[in-house]
């Protein structure tokens, strides 16, 4: 079954004279890790937020596991979907444990189950439970906060995860570690993940398929190999070219 289906979805914000997302259609199977790549303002965040009804489309249908989400209470949709945002968005007045247990608490799990789940999640994202669970977000580094944000989104093992540049503010080494951990988590959970990034290397490394967006439209949606072999349109070509130029730059320095 398809996990996510968009059919002719458009979104125009009030007081603007253009569509942030223009008649987009695609299908994503359960268990795929799709990365969304594109320049700033091309509509990546808008597209993502329509999946958990933070925005509602003006036109078109969004179907998750056979269910048109227009007919489902937004709060219910959101509790089924994990959501990680760029600046982690942790709740500053809550401990790490309470942050991670947000959704289990909303769903009124019993305390023991909450705590056990929190322990497992922190282990999964590489944070020591004893060391960190009582701390507050400001007592953590940026990378550690991102890990907590990831753990919070994973808490009730949602079938769909939305990640909006989750590793944006993290240094290169930690970023690589987190990418590997995300791949591992994805293998273990078989979740369907939509992952927005600016970074072409990240997009091609992580994605089973890469969705390339430009000015509200999808110009390419294919496996990394196919995109690199046959970039197709001009925008994708320039993206791939820029990555190759960068690679060449490094190689020249080394030799």
């Amino acid at each position: 079954m398809n996990a996510i289906t968009f059919t002719n979805v458009s979104k125009q914000f009030p007081k603007t004279n253009y569509k942030a997302v223009k008649s987009v259609s695609f299908e994503i199977e359960e268990g795929e890790l799709v990365t969304i790549l594109g320049s700033s303002g091309c509509g990546k965040t808008t597209l993502l937020k329509m999946v958990n009804r933070l925005y509602d489309p003006d036109e078109g249908d969004i179907v998750l596991f056979g269910e048109n989400i227009r007919d489902v209470d937004p709060v219910v949709v959101r509790r089924r979907i994990g959501y990680v945002i760029q600046q982690s968005g942790l709740f500053p007045h809550m401990t790490i444990e309470d942050n991670i247990s947000t959704v289990p608490k909303l769903l009124k799990w019993d305390r023991k189950k909450q705590q056990e789940r929190c322990r497992n999640l922190m282990e999964l994202v590489g944070l020591d439970y004893e060391k960190f669970h009582k701390r507050y977000p400001h007592e953590l580094s940026g990378g550690q906060q991102q890990r907590v944000g990831l753990a919070r989104a994973l808490a009730v093992n949602p079938k769909i995860m939305l990640m909006d540049e989750p590793f944006g503010a993290i240094d290169a080494i930690n970023r690589l570690n987190l990418q590997d951990e995300l791949k591992k988590i994805h293998r273990e959970t078989n979740q369907t993940i939509l992952f927005v990034t600016h970074d072409i290397n990240e997009a091609f490394k992580l994605g089973n398929r890469v969705m390339i967006m430009n000015e509200g439209k999808i110009c390419r949606f294919d496996t990394p190999q196919n995109v690199i072999r046959q970039p197709g349109d001009a925008f994708t070509q320039s993206l791939v070219q820029s990555a190759m130029d960068q690679e060449k730059f490094w190689r020249e320095y080394r030799d």
Binding site: L54, V75, V76, Q86, L90, P92, H93, V103, G149, R152
Partner: protein, 205 residues
């Protein structure tokens, strides 16, 4: 002055107690009503703006005029005074509360919404705890305003420290005027001090 207190302790104590009663009842009612308004505003943000606008206009009406308007409805006495004080407080409380809620980091709000909190849950679990500063500021302003305007309420037979002041003015009794002033200012300072201690404790823990 000390002599006066020694001779007629009840003449000071009774108005003081009346004033404190008026303050406590007014504050409790004001906070409960403001909390309800905040919930409504959380559900329909537009209403929040309308409420603030409305209460800002009411707030600019002098208290004596408001008392006069209400006397035909609620009569002379404490009820009228409390109604007016509660209405005034709505402006001070709502303005500070809603400004505090709006100031919560937008990433945090989006994350809260994204985890599937209802609007009321976002308000109670995220916005209220993160706006303690603004909430205390609103309450402190309400305390000072209630104690101050509460003295004028004596003019409609609501009792309290204002009766000392008005009696003193009528009979040209300076000692009474001074006691009225000292007690109402002292009350404001003490209550504010208590609120400050609570605020510090909250921030510490």
């Amino acid at each position: 002055m000390i002599e006066y207190m020694a001779k007629h302790p009840d003449k000071l104590l009774t108005p003081l107690i009346e004033h404190i009663e008026m303050l406590v009842i007014t504050l409790l009612l004001s906070i409960v009503i403001a909390a309800i308004f905040c919930m409504i505003s959380a559900l329909v943000p537009f209403i929040g703006n309308v409420l603030i606008h409305f209460f800002s206009i009411v707030y600019s009406i002098p208290s004596l005029a408001l008392f006069a308007v209400l006397i035909p409805v609620t009569g002379l006495g404490r009820t009228t005074a409390i109604v007016v004080l509660v209405v005034y407080n709505q402006y001070l409380l709502l303005r500070n509360f809603l400004a505090g809620f709006a100031n919560v980091n937008s990433n945090v709000l989006e994350a809260a919404k994204g985890t599937g909190m209802t609007k009321i849950q976002v308000l109670t679990k995220i916005q209220v705890p993160l706006s303690k500063g603004a909430i205390f500021t609103g309450m402190q302003l309400a305390v000072v305003s209630t104690i101050g305007i509460g003295t004028i309420a004596a003019s409609i037979n609501a009792g309290g420290l204002g009766s000392l002041l008005f009696d003193g003015l009528r009979t040209l009794n300076t000692v009474k005027i001074l006691w009225g002033t000292v007690l109402s200012a002292g009350l404001a300072i003490v209550v504010n001090g208590v609120l400050n201690v609570v605020k510090k404790k909250q921030e510490g823990g």
